[in-house]
Structures are given as structure tokens and as C-alpha cells.
Symmetry: C2
Subunit: 238 residues, 2 copies
């Protein structure tokens, strides 16, 4: 299934219409990937779960780097003051804290060693290319587009809640206390997406900037979809 084609905005939308368009954009996407559907219905083998966790780690370690790229291009101090929290959430403040660390503990819980996750030996080329494309996008595109690309988080709380429930129900071989990454994102993602949405609503008021924001969000959906394609191809049961 190929990503849906997405139309440009033909005239400037009101902030509410624009928000609705953004929400529509992510609504029918990422979680519909065959791999995610199998994962959420308990059909993934331990090998598939491990492949997903090991590869998704590359995305996780790059999140602070893309957020720092946004900080580096964003000229608005007030936005930066809030955005920096994302970096701190992922990197943590001391050894053993933060989202990346939580992901490493998840990796251990599914039977991987830290070393084999951190040295990227399982990293698939398609996953690397997709994640690198995302980081490069945030470094080279206007900062508002980079902010808009983060709005896949609008759907993250539902996705995380569903994933957490699926893991607790179907993958009982994984210690449920090591699912803390998913739990923390259920509370962090709404705060983050609320901020991102507020910024994009306030700054994207013309047809051109709204189209660019929707296009950036499509791009980000493609990144996530493409990662799952590569993972499904490598580890999926067919």
C-alpha cells in the first residue's frame, strides 16, 4: 500500500480549518502499516519485535539531533525555551535517565544487548536512509516546516496507548515494567504536539505556508512508513 497522495491547500484556511487538515493528514496513516497492524494484534514473532526495536533505536537516537537542528534554525527564543525540553526528555539529565535510555532498557527486555543496539549492527539501509532524510530535512528546510513535520505526534498518544495495551496483552514474554518509554510518551507527546500545533497555527496563515506545512507532515509520514517497509521486508512473516 503506497502512501496517499495529498492535495495542496487551494486557499488560505482559518487556523481551525488548517488544524483540521493537519489532523486529517496524520489520522489514516502510520498505524495502518501492515507491520504495525500485525504488531498491535499480537502477530509479531519475537524476532520481528527485536528487529523493530533494534531499528527503531536509530530513530530514537536521532530525535534529539533533529530537535537540536530545529533549535538551531528557529529564531524565536520563546519557542526555543519550550522546544529544548524535548532534547532533555530524550537525552535525560544524568546517566540512566531519558527516553533513549528507556528504549535501551526495552531492547534488553526483548532479548537484545545494549551493545548490539548501540553499534547499529542490525540497522537496515532503508531505516537509516529514512531517518537520515528526516534529520537532514530539519537541518536544511525552514524551521516552520521542521516544526510541522513533528506533528505526527498529534496521533502519538493514541498510538502509544494502543501499543502499550498490545504489548501488555500479546507479548507477555516482555517484562511490562520495561515498557516505560511508551508510558512516558503518552504524557509527553500531547504536551509536545500541543506546542507544535500552536506554533504552526500561529505562523502558517497563508496558502503557501499551510501547503508547505502539510507537505512537511506528509514527508514525515513517509519517513515513518518507509522505516516500517524496510523492517517488514527484513523481518516480516510472509
Amino acid at each position: 500500500m503506497a502512501p496517499l497522495a495529498r492535495g495542496a491547500v487551494t486557499q488560505a484556511l482559518t487556523p481551525d480549518e488548517f488544524e483540521e487538515a493537519l489532523r486529517e493528514h496524520v489520522k489514516d496513516y502510520h498505524h495502518l502499516h501492515p507491520f504495525h497492524r500485525r504488531m498491535n494484534t499480537g502477530q509479531c514473532s519475537p524476532e520481528e519485535i527485536r528487529g523493530w526495536v533494534a531499528n527503531r533505536f536509530y530513530y530514537q537516537v536521532n530525535i534529539p539531533r533533529k530537535d537540536a537542528a530545529i533549535l538551531s534554525t528557529c529564531p524565536d527564543r520563546e519557542i526555543r525555551r519550550r522546544w529544548v525540553q524535548r532534547i532533555i526528555d530524550h537525552d535525560g539529565t544524568t546517566e540512566g535517565t531519558g527516553g533513549i535510555e528507556a528504549w535501551l532498557r526495552l531492547a534488553e527486555a526483548v532479548g537484545l544487548t545494549r551493545a548490539e543496539v548501540e553499534d547499529a549492527r542490525h540497522l537496515l539501509p532503508g531505516v537509516r536512509f529514512a531517518v537520515d532524510a528526516y534529520v537532514n530535512f530539519t537541518r536544511t528546510r525552514p524551521w516552520l516546516e521542521a516544526v510541522a513535520s513533528s506533528l505526527t505526534e498529534l496521533f502519538a498518544p493514541d498510538l502509544m496507548a494502543e501499543r502499550l495495551a498490545a504489548f501488555e496483552r500479546h507479548y507477555t514474554w516482555i517484562d511490562p515494567k520495561e515498557l516505560s518509554y511508551f508510558r512516558s510518551r503518552i504524557t509527553q507527546a500531547p504536551r509536545d504536539s500541543e506546542h507544535g500545533l500552536e506554533v504552526v497555527r500561529r505562523h502558517c496563515v497563508t496558502q503557501e505556508t499551510q501547503t508547505a506545512a502539510l507537505s512537511a507532515l506528509s514527508f514525515k509520514c513517509d519517513v515513518l512508513w518507509s522505516m516500517l517497509d524496510a523492517i517488514d521486508q527484513a523481518y516480516g512473516n510472509r
Copy 2:
């Protein structure tokens, strides 16, 4: 007076020798610029002080952006956890806090409005080019070189202490309580330069990386020098 030519490292130095070479590199530099000498001996007119404050603001607002660029390229979480503090120091955590805000208060104290500083109407092309070169350097060069370029901070505490004393003594028309930017850097700069130095000592152990680090530091000295050239040219008494 042109910047001094700086030799490459002809063989790998020990960490202590390398640190000494780094310290030598910045020791005889920035503060020796004729404009700085005049400033520190009380010879600058209010117009020169205002020109310096307004132009140096462009450097100040770009500091968090260059530090975010370093965060974005640095793959080491432990380094990022400490480096992020620089961004928070400059941006502040709430309205009215942080180093950029302190610089704006200095600007008001020397007789500028916030508006004329923030809209960059006094910004000289030479200052813009030098600062932009610095930010671009940190975005495009290896992260260790970007870290090394920050080591002009090794000299910052002395420079700031001298500047603070000069302002309090010679420029009594400026409310001394608005010199808080200089005061805060006297304590922040040693913490920052200590971290930067630790990173560079640990990671630059070959002739090639040590040469690259010294070259990055020369580049940064040139940035600061070039800014003062432009300011001296525009506002200096001749």
C-alpha cells in the same frame, strides 16, 4: 594588525601539551584588538559603546543557535546533556531571563531601544558575515571542531573581569547593575570552557585531530577579531 599565522601540530601532543597549545592559541588574541584596548582603557565614546553593544547582540542571539548546531551533530549523549545548559543559559527558561535578555538590558542601559537592537538596523555587514560564518562552521564541520572553536572561552573569565572593571570605572554613565551579562559569564564561562576542554583533550589525540582543533580555534579567533574590525571601522575615533 593582522591575525597571527598559526602552525600545525607536527606530531601528536600529550593531552597536557595539547591543552597548553590551545591556551597559547587564545592567549594573545582577541583582547589585543585596538577597539578592545580602547574600550578597556576608557577611551570609547558613548557612540562607540552603543555601536559595539548593538552589533555584538547579533553574536549573542546566535550563540544558542550555534550551540544547538553542535548538539545536532554531536553523537555523544553524555556531552549533549551538559552542552544543552549553554542554550538554557542564553535563552533563559522564562520571559525576562537568560543571557540574551541580559544583553538587551545592557543595550537599554547604554541608550539603545530594544526595538533597534532586535531589528538589527545597526548590524554591520562585516559583523553579520563573521557571525554567520561561525554558525555555519558549527553546522557543517565535524562536531569536535565546533567544540574546539568554542574554546575562546578559556580566556573569557579574565576578559569579562577586565571588561566589567573597565565599565564600572570608565563608563559611569552606564548603570552598573545592568552589567549582569558580564558578571554571569565570569562564572558560566569557566564551567563551559572546562567541559569543552575536557572533551577536546579526550577526543583529539592524533596529530590530525589536534591540528584541526587548533585550526578551528584560530577560525573562531578570526571571527571575533573580524567583528571588532568592522565595529572599529564604523564607529572608531580616528
